[in-house]
Subunit: 357 residues, 2 copies
């Protein structure tokens, strides 16, 4: 199937970044945490759903349990974690471990980066999205109002522990969210993986532990490599925002799941690509998006969404860095004047005229 | 007087740190800011006192004006600044300039480090304390409850602009606060500067612009050098905490000024030094402390203060790194078991028996 079997194991693989290294334990088990971090000096941050699903596993570990949901990825939750850390007498020798989806890893990494000016932290991603994408790359942060990830910091975790057994209890909707990022990686970087996705569907991956572990590792390695090349997002790393510019603007205006927002964002970015780079494979992309249960083109309030979009972190004065496709497997960064983008977006019609969709 | 005249000027001197450089403009003027940062892409963060004192100078600059005082160095103020930055459409090309005392530079640096995952920032210190100490070294952050600087990040400012004319309107109490840190630098690192302080007093420095500019530069260079050697406080930088361990614990329990808290902290640290390193110059230190209008030994609630002190960031499990003096001009880092420290503190009496004070 084109996926190399994992060469990893108990030992972990060290990936170097500009200021720190992350040791990644692919295809590992939660129980290994005991050998990575001692219970006395470790605090696990998780949410009430994960805690309920894994109470037995978490026995004996100090935990901070948050309410579940993106709406809690805000400063008030960070304040609450800090308050609990003080009560638990956490100090500079303490390691924080974020166990959960992207919300948990983002906020845990953020708090660990600022508590006592920075303590050690690691992640145990429990969702497909966090495994394939969100837990990797050191972007930690919170939302501010409707602005996603407006506040944060780039700092790499000390370790990443992958246990695909944790996906067992993951709802289908969450699998779909994960596949939005996997389709993104394939679209911008890996045409062979895109073909692999075309040949399979959600069910195949859900049923086959080996297949999903290999897919997770393949995606993690794509993302790690991009981040290693450009940790502070001066160039190549921007590619990972494919589908995310419009996606983020939609996400908080419409309370969409991240996966749905990104898949819609990818579809529209493909349409913008058609106009600006001559991209011709929108139909193929939309077919895969639907194959993994995700939405493509949908109506939205263009004015409201554009008002948020123009505050995107990728804006620089009058232009915005937008990620487009030249072909499947090759993303490009294009600086588009906001005025031009506004005109293109205002002309969007569903169904899109001339795309065959 | 042993102080070299400043070799600096309009050009600025670049000091390299591990991850970034700071350009320092010693003995400069506020008006130079125009050549360092363009008005369109710059936002000055200041407090209402500084704003009132320098309204004319600030004309034409975008400003965020905060309430004055350490009690506002909290997350709620950071949230407020972030909210205003969004409203001002600040983006990754924006430079934040903190113009004020340590509270302003600390919180400005902190917000600049996390807004959009980090934007450029510079400082224009307006108090002696900020000039000689607080604005240097990249420690940015906020307080959490009674715990000072519990949340923050180490990141160096892009520039530091020194204009001693800004000290003109500084109240005497603030001059004293600044001298607490200057006495600290002299005590741990510079016996010659200690002698210089002994030979002069507050009035001499307040009256002589050249003398104070040179003293500010001498102190800034001491601190910069220590930070360059040990930016992330694994060793030498801890020396700068002389007087601050007990000082911080006192400061928020008793609403003391930072300078008063530190001078009391230095006096007691000298007494602890007498017991643990054989330090014999406590009287000389206390004399200089009083010479600059600062308090030395005072009574405090030992139990309450120790409860805060043991949560100090320099605690590591059962021990705490305490900064002591071997002699004037030579500070040392000593790891003291918390239990032992508690016993020593509980035996403190005012006036101190056997110290001649």
């Amino acid at each position: 199937m084109g996926i190399k079997s994992s060469p990893s194991g108990v030992g972990g693989i060290q990936f170097k970044f500009s200021q720190a290294s992350t040791t990644v334990y692919f295809d590992a088990s939660f129980t290994q945490l005991g050998s990575l971090a001692d219970k006395k000096n470790t605090i696990i941050v998780t949410d009430e759903n994960i805690f309920a699903a894994h109470t037995a596993k978490l026995k004996g570990w100090k935990t901070i349990v948050l309410k579940a949901g993106e709406e809690y990825k805000v400063q008030a939750t960070a304040d609450d974690i800090i308050h609990q850390l003080i009560q638990l007498e956490a100090d500079r020798k303490t390691t924080l471990v974020g166990m959960g989806g992207g919300v948990i890893t983002d906020i845990t990494g953020y708090v660990a980066s600022v508590y006592m000016r920075g303590i050690a932290f690691g992640f145990i991603p429990t969702s497909l999205l966090a495994m394939a994408d969100a837990s990797i790359g050191g972007k930690n942060g919170i939302d501010a109002g409707v602005y996603k990830n407006m506040v944060g910091i780039i700092r790499q975790p000390n370790f990443l522990l992958y246990d695909v057994n944790l996906l067992k209890s993951l709802p289908d909707a969450e699998w779909q969210n994960g596949f939005a990022e996997i389709i993104k990686h394939a679209s911008i970087k890996d045409a062979a993986m895109f073909s692999l996705l075309e040949k399979n569907d959600l069910g195949t991956f859900q049923k086959n532990k080996k297949l999903i572990a290999a897919l997770v590792e393949r995606n993690a390695r794509i993302k790690i490599k991009v981040v290693q090349n450009d940790e502070f997002e001066k160039g190549e790393r921007k590619l990972l925002n494919y589908g995310h510019t419009l996606g983020h603007a939609l996400e908080n205006q419409y309370q969409l799941s991240h996966g749905h927002a990104v898949s819609i964002g990818m579809a529209y970015a493909a349409e913008i690509s058609r106009q600006l780079t001559g991209f011709t494979q929108t139909e193929r992309l939309v077919k895969v998006i639907h194959q993994y249960g995700l939405p493509a083109f949908t109506k939205f309030d263009k004015e409201k969404v554009f008002a948020v979009l123009k505050m995107d972190k990728k804006r620089e004065r009058k232009d915005i860095s937008y990620i487009l496709l030249e072909k499947i497997g090759k993303g490009v960064i294009k600086s588009i004047p906001l005025k031009q983008l506004e005109i293109i977006i205002n002309k969007f019609k569903v169904p899109l005229v001339g795309t065959g969709i």
